[in-house]
Amino acid sequence: MYDVQVLTPRSPEEAAEAFGDGSDLTVLGGGTIVLPEIAHARAKPKRVLMLAHSGLDRIERANGTVTIGAAVRAVELLGGDEPLATAARYVGDPEVRAQATVGGNLCAAQGEAPRGDLQAPLVVLGARVRSTGKDGERTEAVEDFLAGGPQGRLVLDVSYDDVERRTGYAAFWRPHTHHDTILAVAAARANGELRIAATGVAPHAVLLDPDDPLAGIDPRDDALASAWYRKRILPKLVARALESVG
């Protein structure tokens, strides 16, 4: 192992302070993405911020808001609010779900095979991402965070309104070929508003137009599926996700 400084904050405040502006720093949450990169020497960060004991691993439901800490593991979402709970079942396998974190899922390297199974559900829940970095703390819609990318930001938590919703989720997935979801669609209707989002048509999850889900969608070819194929599967997944939404 090469010379690397490891920071181990013991509270969310310490984590934010240690992160600073994020320069020369890699965040290690559950380790499912970052540790193999380091072990294979594909990444050689100078400083690593380890979130294992940061206290960012709590789920709170209070005052009409659900707040999920960045270090909450995918396994803890099972049985919780939909469509997040169903999507969490598509994250890796049971052991990976016991390590992979919500923050890591939002910050999974963009441009590679889609790894952000939880992104589309968070988009349709209207979730907000609270992060810290160069210009201090900010809270923004999850789709805005995803569009801006995680560079220079430490995700602290995500939150959404604790309201009644009708939700749906449909994923196109093949067991044991790889660990990535090829394409998935999440949908939620709350207070009369319908939101539909997809994982797998872009480097990160995107909000779809309910009246024309293919509008503005420009998927790429990758090892999992061609763009042609994705465009043909997407409307079918949208229809399936909407079955339980009404």
Binding site: V4, P36, H53, E95
Partner: protein, 148 residues
């Protein structure tokens, strides 16, 4: 930092970002957990961390200070196999044996949590484990025999 491995307290000198798998195999000489894919996809490195199955290749040892680790060496001995080990042996649930420690650990954890899992629950619990020798029929038979 210290971890407990199979009931024995161990002082760890490896740097904090060392995967637990490398600590077990290279620092402590405990070799049941296997380095298969080294990226969390094959299940061969699975060990129990505080009773829960985890990928040791994905676990930085620095995050595990004070944790209790159990490997196959901790669930049975050659003279006294655990129920799960004996079932794999009797049902021919192992061929080359490389994936077997991961299957044993995951099965051990599953049966601790649920004594009589359904076939579907077994498949779900073992879905992160890959055998490239022969298939899963005998492995599933072994797990069902262990649960019987």
């Amino acid at each position: 930092m210290t971890i407990t491995v199979n009931g024995v307290h161990r002082e760890i000198v490896s740097p904090p970002l060392t995967p637990l798998l490398a600590v077990l195999r290279e620092e402590l000489g405990i070799t049941s957990a296997k380095a298969g894919c080294n990226q969390g996809g094959c299940g061969a490195c699975t060990v129990l961390v505080d009773g829960e199955p985890r990928r040791s290749c994905l676990s930085a040892v620095g995050a595990l200070d004070g944790a209790e680790i159990t490997t196959v060496e901790g669930i049975g001995t050659p003279e006294r196999l655990s129920t799960v080990q004996a079932a794999f042996h009797e049902q021919y649930g192992s061929q080359c044996g490389f994936c077997t420690p991961g299957f044993l650990i995951a099965t051990h954890a599953l049966l601790q949590e649920k004594a009589k899992p359904s076939r579907e629950e077994i498949q779900e619990a073992l879905s992160g484990h890959i055998c490239r020798c022969t298939g899963y029929v005998k492995i599933l038979a072994a797990i069902e025999a262990a649960a019987a």
